[in-house]
């Protein structure tokens, strides 16, 4: 006969008493595990929601980025770098700069490590009388974009016009009934029509684009340009002031102005959308954190209350058990069973209650969310300990019970 066998037989004999103790511990452990499981489930759900929102935002921003690139390609550039001595009133009145600057400025900008602008397009633009056709046109010499070093490869917004070729604005090719492959004569040069632009409703409709070097030669401005078109970087904190400061540092003899308001509006809308998305994600994260805080606060009140209630209940049950078993304790003591063995009989029973309650409570608790091995280990160790602590006082009463009093009463 061992103490453990005695405990096992007594548990089987007083099933209701054991069950009442186990139920109390199941409730306490279940609440505790459910609290942790809920928080864990909440965290998993939060991470899922935020990851999905971030992915959705990324996809939307990528889509917008592409759309923006296409829009910008359609609408042109939004920053214009002009010679510093160019009178802007005159520029706006004439639609082009009368002053020129060295073409080399574009290369200098490209190799300067500038970050506030992208897509540099040097150009020479003049309004001239087309002698062969007797009409006023704008000639625009372009050489293709100058790649910015260290800025990563970007698809050009505007492709170059090959030497000996021309791209015609809508009004020109429509009124002269020209199409790709036709030849035109301009200031004594023969150019092949490469592309015919769609209608834009701007001065582009009366523009002929040609190779920059050919335009420079034709207009008598060899090695000169009168504008560098650029695209403002859509990065946080980049405004015109910053761009102007950077350009002034690199090209002291140039000035920058902003134009193409439609493109800017769309770019700002995109930035706003990106900002809104960020705010929405942050707001969701805050809401989820708030909800988590509420669950924690609720648990911080409920769980200790339930644990204390459980401990009191187990203590009272143990006390009742000690009272019920007074005679048994007396007879065991009379037969030489030691105090510490009596203590062990009652604490062992409390521990068994705690262990059974821990396992059932854990199983019940993880219905609320995912469990973990660490949590299981904690409750398997903690619940029996709680039950033992709760049953300690009654067990001490039992161990110190005077057998003579009980046997004499009998």
């Amino acid at each position: 006969m061992s103490v453990w066998r005695l405990i096992a037989r007594e548990l089987a004999f007083r099933k209701l008493h054991f069950a009442l103790g186990v139920i109390a511990i199941v409730v306490a452990v279940g609440c505790l595990v459910a609290e942790f499981a809920l928080l864990r489930a909440h965290d998993v759900r939060t991470n899922g929601i935020l990851a999905a929102k971030e992915a959705e935002t990324r996809a939307r921003m990528a889509e917008m980025e592409d759309a923006y690139r296409k829009i910008m390609k359609g609408l042109g550039f939004n920053v214009l770098i002009l010679p510093k001595d160019q009178n802007l009133s005159e520029f706006h009145a004439d639609d082009f700069a009368s002053k020129t600057m060295p073409e080399e400025y574009a290369q200098r900008l490209a190799t300067s490590g500038i970050i506030t602008i992208q897509h540099l397009l040097p150009s020479l633009q003049r309004k001239i009388e087309w002698p062969e056709r007797k009409r006023r046109i704008i000639v625009m010499g372009i050489r293709g974009e100058v790649p910015i070093q260290g800025g990563g490869r970007k698809e050009p917004l505007l492709v170059a016009v090959p030497k000996g070729c021309a791209a015609l604005g809508y009004e020109i090719h429509r009124s002269l009934n020209l199409s790709a492959g036709d030849s035109i004569e301009i200031c004594g040069r023969t150019l092949s029509v490469q592309t015919c632009q769609p209608e834009r409703g701007t001065k582009d409709d009366i523009t002929i684009w040609m190779d920059l070097a050919e335009a420079q030669e034709m207009l008598g401005a060899k090695g000169e340009i009168n504008a560098i078109y650029a695209l403002k970087c859509q990065c946080a904190g980049v405004g015109m002031e910053k761009i102007r400061g950077e350009i002034a540092r690199i090209l002291p003899d140039a000035q920058a102005i902003e134009f193409a308001s439609q493109a800017l509006t769309r770019a700002e809308a995109r930035e706003r959308a990106a900002e809104d998305a960020r705010v929405a994600i942050e707001s969701e994260a805050r809401n989820r954190a708030h909800l988590r805080g509420e669950i924690e606060a609720y648990g911080a009140i409920l769980v200790p209350l339930v644990l204390v209630g459980c401990a009191v209940w187990v203590g009272l049950l143990s006390l009742g058990n000690v009272r019920e078993r007074r005679m048994e304790i007396g007879i065991l003591r009379a037969m030489g069973v030691r105090s510490r063995q009596i203590l062990l009989i009652f604490l062992g029973k409390a521990g068994a209650m705690g262990l059974a309650g821990a396992l059932i409570g854990y199983a019940a608790g993880i219905l609320a969310g995912p469990g973990s091995t660490a949590l299981l280990a904690a409750v398997v160790a903690g619940a029996p300990l709680l039950a033992i602590v709760a049953g300690w006082l009654p067990a001490m009463i039992a161990a110190q019970q005077d057998p003579a009093i009980v046997l004499r009463e009998e």
Binding site: M1, R5, A12, G330, I331, A334, G336, A404
Partner: protein, 220 residues
């Protein structure tokens, strides 16, 4: 084997002190079966508990098998009870959730022994309880319960058997079985101290002592 020398015990009660033992001296040798008779409340049970190391007297000495038991620590006293003293009570005091065999094995909690199961089965057989070995006390007759209690008391081969009205709840036939077993125990060299208010036990005792109001009246 058992020496009680001027043992005194007084219970303090709100209504006044009650003298349970007023200076009792008894000496019992191995092989003696002493029956202590007296009316209820005369101090018989107090005498038995004091002799069994369960109730420290206010004065006097209790010597069991050469050891003055109240001079020992509680743990040593528990060891003496486990190894040298057996108890039998009127109410049997069997453990309600253990079968007869397991009840007989209970003393092995205090003194683990290798031959525990063999010894328990031997006693179960000796007292005719084999068919009821796995029945809990509630399923046993009163006679079977007392025989189980007797088997439990003899489990550790004690030298002293203390019996408190062991036949009080039994019919004549079962009482005979119990008393005969106690007499056999004494016959094998054990010492029996039995307290009773009836007269049946006297016919098996080697000595009968009468008690009244905490004092011995006569002996033979």
């Amino acid at each position: 084997m058992l020496d009680l020398a001027d043992v005194r015990k007084t219970y303090a009660r709100p209504e006044g002190a009650i003298v349970a033992l007023g200076g009792i001296s008894i000496s019992a040798e191995p092989g003696e079966f002493i029956a202590v008779r007296g009316p209820s409340g005369c101090g018989k049970t107090t005498l038995l508990l004091a002799a069994g190391g369960l109730l420290a007297p206010d004065a006097g000495r209790v010597i069991v098998d050469g050891e003055e038991i109240y001079a020992l620590s509680p743990e040593d006293r528990a060891r003496i009870r486990a190894t040298r003293i057996g108890f039998v009570f009127q109410q049997f005091h069997l453990i309600p959730y253990l079968g007869a065999l397991e009840n007989v094995l209970v003393p092995s909690l205090g003194v683990p022994r290798r031959d525990a199961m063999t010894r328990a089965r031997e006693l179960i057989d000796r007292f005719g309880l084999a068919p009821r070995a796995h029945h809990v006390p509630a399923e046993l007759s009163t006679g079977e319960r007392q025989r189980t209690a007797l088997a439990r008391a003899l489990f550790n081969r004690p030298k002293l058997l203390l019996a408190d009205e062991p036949t009080g709840n039994l019919d004549e036939a079962n009482a005979e079985v119990v008393l005969r077993a106690l007499a056999e125990f004494a016959g094998e060299g054990g010492t029996v101290l039995l307290v009773t208010h009836g007269g049946n036990a006297a016919s098996y005792a080697t000595r009968v002592i009468s008690m009244k109001e905490g004092l011995l009246c006569s002996g033979d």
